[in-house]
Amino acid sequence: MRNIVIAPLAPIRISVEAEILSPDIFAPLSLEQICGLDVWQGNRKRRISDLFRVVGDEGPVKPEETALRLEGDFSRVKRIAEGMTAGTVDVTGSVGMHAGNNMKGGRLRILGNADDWLGREMRGGSIIVEGNAGNYAGAGYRGERCGMRGGEIEIRGNAGAYLGEHLCGGNIRVAGNAGDFPGAANQGGTIFIGGSCHLPGAEMTKGAIIVNGKAKVLPGYQKLEIVTIGGEKYQKYAGDLVENGKGELFIQAGSS
């Protein structure tokens, strides 16, 4: 593997849009070329080397042979690993919005927290967040009919609102709580929520949502039988019937 380490030179105030922080972009370039890539900070075009220290192995290699390590606080850096197809990105701190946006393959791992729109419209690969994720993880852009279509998102902390909105495929797993409206308009993906959430599966037409904690269930859900999944008992619901939905909602029995 070719290892490349990037770290901010100083704390970042105005957020940086850095869609080029991806194995696909870096793999064929030398370190010097990488340093010369542009990122945007507000209306200013900056070089990577103006804002970050870049060290590591020389290339070129293939994307799948590239391991990118982001050290420090990237919470004000947006669009990390956008569209990546292969390789790995490891972030020791937190990341800004749209990390793993439109990701197609490879692995993005975030030790801190992720901001809103993590894995937006993701198609493949995997994202692991050790901390919390913001709103709209695995969702689609404004007005779009399809959010995440494939791949895996694992959030070991809590997730914000609109988790997996317009989900069309793939799996999302949240160890903690999710906010309002997880799995809204789900059309075929699967969401597991270890904790509680509010109004899951609004307008869900296909797919499944499993909630281990408490959840307020919408009036468009028909209560069905108690089922056992992985040794746990769940109350099964079908819906959302406002959309003639055939989605499945499971809430741990006795919790809601």
């Binding site: 404004r142 007005g143 109004l199 009036p219 468009g220 019937l241 406002v242």
Partner: protein
């Protein structure tokens, strides 16, 4: 002199039947307007002169000096916010968009603290609407959901909705059924045929229940939703289905509550569903008289109706990321131009505290709390009273605002032009310096 059929520049009703008596260039009397409109047209104490803050004090300067200082602030910023725009005319809004492009800023309107969630809802579902005259002529059933027009849009009922008479509604109020859904009793609900009081933050669930009942799937609906008995909701659903022409008007009661845009999204679906059975339309009750206008102008200029980020020279839109409150809450902006708005009063306090940390340019006819924080204050003519121009009514209808009196103040459009010119000359001076 009497100016007839003047257009009121207070709320989104844009009443265009106002008669204004003008004597010696002063408004003497306003006829037909409501209390809100009269107060606006009669006018208040004005800012007298442009001012620039020096050593903590606002000092009077010339317009040109104010424009130059404003241009310096905007060009020094890497992410300036250009905010407001709802209480000025489209001609000024167009200039504002050009300025935002020139300085690479983010342009946002007061919609983001009003009906911004409605816009996001519309992006999910579309807007089955109508002009207000259609409602006046046809509606026999009117729902006010989370809005209180008796206080916020006082002439709405007479001109367009509850009390209006039209071709198929000759009996006016007596033949209409008025329904109010809210978390409290209001002046509007007290005059309704049916009021439904729901628990705060349960709009989404209540709408879902109504969609189920309208579709004949009431058997699945629990006995109580949002604090309202199923029987009560069923009778509401029956009233909706019995309409020959129904209209839903909604306000900030639904956009500002838990669920935000999802509430609107679901209400839009309810109306779409109802159209399988009868005729229904829905419309947001817009507050500022031309908040509709900035949405329209911005949409045809940039493709998006609010919260447009021009920092990378190409429009990018994402409320939640690019709206004024988002940027301020995350300290992700470094200068602000505020026009025809008062964020110091209308934003959450914590966000105002962030705003105060940045250089602020204010363009407004009146002193307000934002003035207390501003570094450059530029007084303007009152659009719709002292300056003419275009405004869009809450139903999207464009009207031309009349000029009622002359003013020595420059219009918003002229001020923005002045700033734009200074931005251009300052930038070319900077380029020449950089090149030398």
């Amino acid at each position: 002199m009497m100016v007839e059929d003047a257009i009121c520049s207070f709320c989104g009703c844009l009443c265009d039947d106002i008669n204004v008596e003008v004597e010696e260039n002063n408004v003497k009397r306003v006829r037909h307007a409501c209390r809100l409109g009269s107060s606006k047209i009669m006018g208040h104490e004005r800012i007298r002169s442009p001012m620039v803050r020096k050593d903590g004090e606002l000092k009077e300067v010339s317009y040109q000096q104010a424009y130059e200082r404003a241009a310096e602030i905007l060009l020094a910023a890497s992410k300036p916010l250009l905010y407001g725009w709802a209480s000025t005319v489209c001609e000024a809004q167009k200039k504002g968009i050009l300025l935002a492009e020139e300085v690479g800023g983010v342009l946002d309107s007061t919609a983001t603290v009003c009906h911004g969630p409605s816009v996001i809802g519309i992006e999910e579902k579309g807007l089955p609407g109508a002009t207000l005259g259609q409602v006046k002529n046809r509606a026999d059933t009117i729902v006010f959901w989370g809005c209180n027009p008796a206080e916020a849009h006082p002439r709405h009922s007479l001109r367009y909705s509850s009390n209006a008479c039209g071709r198929f509604t000759p009996e006016g109020r007596s033949a209409k059924r008025i329904i109010v859904v809210d978390v409290r009793e209001t002046r509007t609900s007290k005059n309704a045929d049916k009021q439904v009081i729901i628990q705060p933050g349960t709009d989404y669930e209540v709408i879902s229940a109504l969609r189920m009942l309208v579709a004949g799937k009431g058997d699945v609906v629990p006995d109580e939703v949002g604090g309202v008995a199923k029987k009560e909701l069923a009778s509401l659903a029956q009233m909706l289905l019995a309409a020959k022409f129904g209209a839903v008007f909604f306000g900030l009661g639904i956009t500002h509550s838990r669920g935000r845009y999802k509430n609107i999204d679901n209400a839009l679906s309810l109306v779409a569903d109802l159209n399988s059975h009868t005729k229904f339309v829905i419309m947001p009750m817009r507050g500022h008289y031309n908040v509709g206008g900035i949405g329209q102008v911005l949409a045809w200029s940039s493709g998006y109706p609010m919260s447009v980020d021009f920092t990378r020279q190409a429009p990018y839109f994402n409320p939640g990321e690019t709206a004024a409150c988002d940027l301020l809450a995350k300290a992700d902006t470094d200068a602000a131009l505020i026009i025809a708005a008062d964020p110091a009063s209308n934003f959450p306090r914590k966000i105002v505290e962030e705003l105060a940390k940045m250089p602020i340019i204010q363009i407004d006819p009146y002193e307000n709390p934002t003035t207390l924080l501003a570094d450059v204050v530029i007084p303007s003519a009152i659009a719709g009273v002292e300056a003419e121009g275009t405004a869009y009514r809450m139903d999207g209808l464009a009207l031309r605002m009349r000029k009622l009196v002359n003013s020595s103040y420059p219009s918003d459009e002229e001020i923005l032009d002045g700033i734009l010119e200074c931005v251009r000359s300052l930038r070319s001076a900077m380029r020449m310096q950089g090149g030398a």
